[in-house]
Symmetry: C2
Subunit: 81 residues, 2 copies
């Protein structure tokens, strides 16, 4: 069975997010002032071949730890649909 798994990778709260800061400046230049903070991470959609949702989640977790997220700078969150 194929499961669609979503992995959200976000920069750690404690760290600066330079991409977010740059976009923040862009928004202000466009006159959009009601946005007070912005953080930019990755949204990854995986199609996982697995016997159960739990197994699909495990595969996604292994992939996230080994390749998709950098644990020094990022956290990740997995949702199986």
């Amino acid at each position: 069975m194929t499961f669609s798994v979503q992995v959200k990778v976000m920069p750690l709260k404690e760290l600066l997010d330079p991409q977010g800061k740059a976009v923040m400046g862009g928004l202000q230049n466009l006159g959009i002032n009601s946005i007070t903070d912005i953080r930019i991470g990755k949204n990854i959609t995986l199609q996982v071949e697995a016997g159960s949702a739990d197994q699909a989640k495990q595969v996604a977790e292994e992939a996230s730890r080994k390749l998709l997220a950098n644990p020094v700078m990022e956290t990740f969150e997995i949702v199986v649909n």
Copy 2:
């Protein structure tokens, strides 16, 4: 009131996702073979100062159209928490 708004920006289904293809190769090199497809987009978290959730969504939509997403290559989806 401050609303936390999530914007998911994904490459259009019709288009190749070169970043996803590259990561797919990496996963196979790591021996993770049960992942059959992978698409990589952006996950953006905004803090929006607004009177209501609807208003916050409108601000996020304007920001997405004008700056966060490239409509030629990407779609976006907005969720207000």
